[in-house]
Each structure stands twice: as C-alpha cells, then as structure tokens.
Symmetry: C2
Subunit: 124 residues, 2 copies
C-alpha cells in the first residue's frame, strides 16, 4: 500500500479548499468531520446519509479532500481513520473554515424552512 499523500499546510491553497468544498457531498463529509469530534470513514458516511453513493465515488471524494489539505487519513487496520485539519487551516487562513461550515449550516436550515413552507402550501 503506497503511503497516502498529505500536502504540507504551506502548500494548501484557497482555490484548492474552495474547489474541494464546492461539491455537496464533500462539504457534507467535511462539515461532519469538522464539527463532530469523532472520525468518519467511507462506510460510516454511507450509513449516515441516506444517499447511495458508490464507494468508488466516495473514495474519490475523500481523496479530493485529502489532497486539498482538508483532512488527514490514516489506515487503522482494515479501515481508514479520517480527521479534519481544521487547526492547521485556521492558522493559515483564519476564519475561512468556520465561515464555510457556518454558511453550509445556514443553507441547510433555509432549505428545511423552504421545504416546510412547500409542504404547508400543499396541505391546504
């Protein structure tokens, strides 16, 4: 097994971070990883969301997050142990991750509100 590549924090770019988090699946994975203290692996994420994302696609997504410098991945026996690199990124780009995670949360909440409104209109 070839060792996993993790870019040093000084090589992490804003563009790379934004690109990695511009995918709904990836930003959901990262938000989970960043806000909950526990680490996820691919299978956990599959179970948590109800979407059926193919495992090859999910593997690509985790790789994208890793290569953007957003997460750290290490093998723990048969599965992967993923943790966010929030601390390091906070040092390099203060406030960036918080703002993105918060915006993501805001968006989910506003979507839920819109969904309830639609349901209410339908119910009339």
């Amino acid at each position: 097994m070839r060792p996993l590549f993790h870019p040093p924090i000084e090589d992490v770019t804003v563009e790379g971070i934004l690109h990695a988090l511009s995918d709904p699946v990836r930003v959901a994975i990262f938000a989970d990883l960043a806000t909950s203290s526990c680490a996820y692996n691919c299978s956990n994420f599959l179970n948590i969301t109800e979407k059926k994302i193919p495992k090859s696609t999910l593997s690509h997504h985790f790789k994208a997050l890793r290569e953007a410098g957003l997460i750290r991945a290490e093998r723990r026996g048969v599965e992967m142990h993923n943790t966010s690199r929030c601390q390091e990124i906070e040092t390099r780009f203060p406030g960036l991750i918080d703002a993105i995670i918060n915006a993501h949360k805001v968006q989910i909440e506003s979507a839920q509100r819109a969904g309830k409104k639609r349901a209410a209109r339908k119910g009339k």
Copy 2:
C-alpha cells in the same frame, strides 16, 4: 441582446459560490470587484493583470461569477458594468465573502514572501 440572468439571492448556494471562487482568475476578479469601490469590465481586468487571458475565456469567467450570484452585470453603452453582490451575500451567508477575500489576500502575501526568500537565496 437577451437580458442577463441574475439568480435571486435565496437561490444562491454555498457550493455555487465556492465553485465560482475556486478558480484563480475568478477569485482575483471578484476580490478586485469586492474590495475596490469601482466596477470593472473585462477589458479593465485584462489591463490590470499582466496575463493574456483570451476574451472568450474572460467572458465565461464573468458569466460564472454572475450565475453563481456573486456579481451583478449590466450593459453601459458598449461595455459591461460589473458590481459585486457582497451586501446581499453577507446577509444570506454572514462572514463568508470576507473570509474568502481575506484568505485570498493571505495567500498572495505568503506567496510574495516565499518569492522574496527564493530570490534572496539565489542572490547569495
């Protein structure tokens, strides 16, 4: 001339914003637009940067920013008048734009420091 499409602010997504700003040219255009009070058009941007970006490419970039909800574009005679939609976005996603613009600035500064170091080493 078909009227330009601008998404209403409630349709603007984090993913859309991040994707639009995950391109170095687009984030540079937007940072310029957001920080300077004056509005740029394609040609201005071409003159400001020393890069030779084809105008068709630049047109696509401005379109991407517009459709992501980041800028507002209107025709002023023969040229376009582009302004950022920072205020609206700040209301919907507080702190997001500031954090990205700031991170972009940090990155440019750290790249300049790295450049100077390289030059100093070379000079020895």
